[in-house]
Amino acid sequence: MNRFDAGLIVIAIIGTATLTGIVALEEPATTRLADVSAFEGARIAVEGRVVETHRGARGSAIIIADGSLRITALLAETSDLPPRGSEVRVIGVVNRDRGAFTLSTRASDIRLIAAATDSLAVADVLAEPARYASTPVTVVGEIERDDAREWRLADPHGRGAIRARFERAPTPGWSRVTGELAYEPREARYILEVADWTRA
């Protein structure tokens, strides 16, 4: 082995270590899920709430929503996944899988921003709304429209309802709704700003 060969090996090792170091240390800028399509093939970071988790034999997937869109983050691991409802920051490479944009990531690139709160009943929130204000909450209840044609999340036992504001019209029914409770001074009541919802 001459000096050229040794130099090649050193360059190869240093280059690989540099790339690995960049992957480990570099924090890509946070991208809104609605803008992900402009970053196909790039490494980005997204923030959002975990809406669903799936565990398979060879990998797992988490579906994240940020109020604008949803994206599936695919992991080649079956390690512990963040619980539903928790807020996470995920770093990964944007791929197009069967037409839809996905994020290829690793468990170590998923960071918990805010832990999930357990699902609350509508009555719990109505009893102490100030306690849950400005924090992510997951509430289980009946999505329905009131007399003023506004969406609300109703208690199944008729103990009241929380007004809910959805980005897009939801499907009425028994659902698990994740969002943030905010006080609306003009209406003098709390409104649930819904980030995402699923049928419970």
Partner: protein, 480 residues
């Protein structure tokens, strides 16, 4: 109308395959937009997409051979193709690869219905293969590394050479026949011309040069070197794939261009600078396929069809493994086999949609979105599936023609230019395309890949160990 659309799509697909860095999915995005325009019939647009998906993979064989930036599907085929290119048989290399791909595509079409029964039901081979996959892959990779034939000399000895600069001084402990003697500190010196009158106990001062020879561990050292190359390429692939590629203009991008151009393209071009003699002129006519070519193609098509349908595997993994199972030192036969993997994988990636209801390629998804493809489960499919199959065949034929035509044009170009000028132009092109499509960081990926790609020929192990770039991340994924 459908036939003309397929023909037009195949021609555009072939163009995307010939230009490194331009993916057929970019074209697909434009066509999907066109398909949504009122008044445009979706069926012909879908046919164009299908044909483009196939012809792009075929045409990539020519760009991988001559331009040094193979697409993912034909990366493994770049190795034997470059061997033939260095002998002035680049046109033959492309012709064999494209013919293998065409045969592989036709075999994949013929095998479609039987394979469906084999993989999905009633035999359900896909589920069994998926379960066994981690063990099969590990065994194949271990075999690939262990079967490295390079023997590395590691036993150092000295040869008396009056013109050498190194001087050795010591007391002679033993003298053996043929002029060899040992010093008290254990160093062995050969003196074939008997220039030193060494006798036991005498103190000698001789000019020597160091030489190495093989020993019992030479074979193991060869395998260890192969394993080191495999692991280095794998670590590089894991990092580069995790890093992705960020297109400065917001266009779709992939780290694979910089990775494969670095590993397989740049080393070959740099080697052109190092040659003391100019490379042989490129022969413009293709040599005929070797005997048993169709059987080889059938094997490649079968392997890639099965592997390309398993979750997490693509035709590039199939090709990487196929290049290991067929290693008799004959690049012509290897090209037929790997070409069939490319063709079979491309066709089956698209056929998975009507056959299994699962889309394995972007072009198939886009086509399905425009004009939903009906399932294919009977010997005589309906008109929709027939149009789909027709588009596949048109794409394969156009891709085969485009690859061979492009090879002749590129070979003529190579003959007109001096090798170093050609290498410089190609290098500048690769660097420019990589940085434009993948951003500045892609240049680090390209340079690192080039350094890794130059190691195997320097240390004397097979370049196929570089396919660790895709195999190691897959192994990690399967075993994690």
């Amino acid at each position: 109308m459908t036939l003309f659309a397929a023909l037009a799509g195949a021609l555009v697909g072939a163009a995307t395959g010939l230009i490194p860095g331009v993916h057929v999915n970019t074209f697909a995005a434009f066509l999907v937009a066109a398909g949504g325009v009122p008044g445009v019939a979706p069926a012909p647009v879908a046919s164009a997409l299908i044909a483009a998906g196939v012809s792009s993979a075929f045409a990539g064989i020519a760009s991988g051979t001559f331009l040094g930036a193979p697409p993912e599907e034909s990366a493994a085929a770049a190795l034997p193709a470059h061997t033939l290119l260095a002998r002035g048989q680049g046109v033959s290399a492309v012709s064999l690869g494209a013919s293998g791909a065409l045969a592989g595509a036709l075999v994949a079409l013929a095998l479609a219905l039987p394979l469906r029964a084999l993989l999905e039901g009633p035999i359900f081979l896909a589920a069994r293969l998926t379960a066994a996959l981690p063990f099969v892959m590990l065994a194949l990779v271990v075999w690939m590394v262990a079967s490295e034939r390079r023997r590395i000399p590691y036993r150092r000895f000295f040869v008396v050479d009056p013109f050498a600069s190194r001087v050795l001084t010591g007391r002679v402990s033993a003298v053996s026949e043929g002029g060899a003697f040992s010093l008290e500190d254990g160093r062995r010196v050969r003196d074939p011309l008997a220039l030193t009158a060494a006798t036991p106990g005498a103190i000698v001062r001789v000019r020597v040069r160091a030489e190495w020879r093989e020993g019992r561990l030479s074979r193991a050292l060869g395998s260890a070197t192969a394993a080191a190359v495999f692991l280095l390429a794998g670590a590089y692939g894991s990092a580069a794939l995790s890093l992705g590629a960020s297109n400065p203009f917001g266009l779709p991008s992939s780290a694979l261009l910089a990775i494969f151009a670095g590993l397989f393209g740049v080393p070959g071009l740099v080697a052109l600078f190092a040659r003391s003699r100019p490379p042989p002129a490129q022969v413009l006519f293709a040599s005929p396929p070797p005997p048993g070519a169709f059987a080889l193609a059938a094997r490649g098509a079968f392997a890639s069809s099965v592997l390309a349908l398993l979750p997490g595997l693509s035709a590039s993994h199939a090709a990487a493994l196929a290049s290991e199972t067929k290693r008799d030192g004959d690049p012509e036969r290897a090209l037929i086999l790997l070409g069939a993997c490319t063709g079979g994988g491309a066709v089956f990636g698209l056929l998975a949609l009507p056959l299994l209801g699962r889309a394995r390629s972007g072009a198939a998804v886009a086509a399905h979105a425009l004009d939903p493809v009906a399932p294919w489960s009977t010997l005589f499919p309906d008109g929709h599936v027939v149009a789909f199959l027709l588009a596949l065949i048109v794409g394969a034929l156009v891709g085969w023609w485009a690859a061979r035509t492009a090879a002749r044009i590129l070979a003529r170009l190579a003959n007109r230019m001096r090798a170093r000028v050609l290498a410089t132009v190609a290098l500048v092109w690769l660097v420019a395309v990589t940085s434009i499509l993948g951003g500045a960081l892609s240049l680090v990926v390209l340079a690192t890949g080039a350094a890794i790609g130059m190691i195997p020929p320097r240390v004397g192990v097979r370049r196929s160990h570089l396919m660790g770039v895709v195999l190691l991340p897959l192994l990690v994924r399967l075993w994690s």
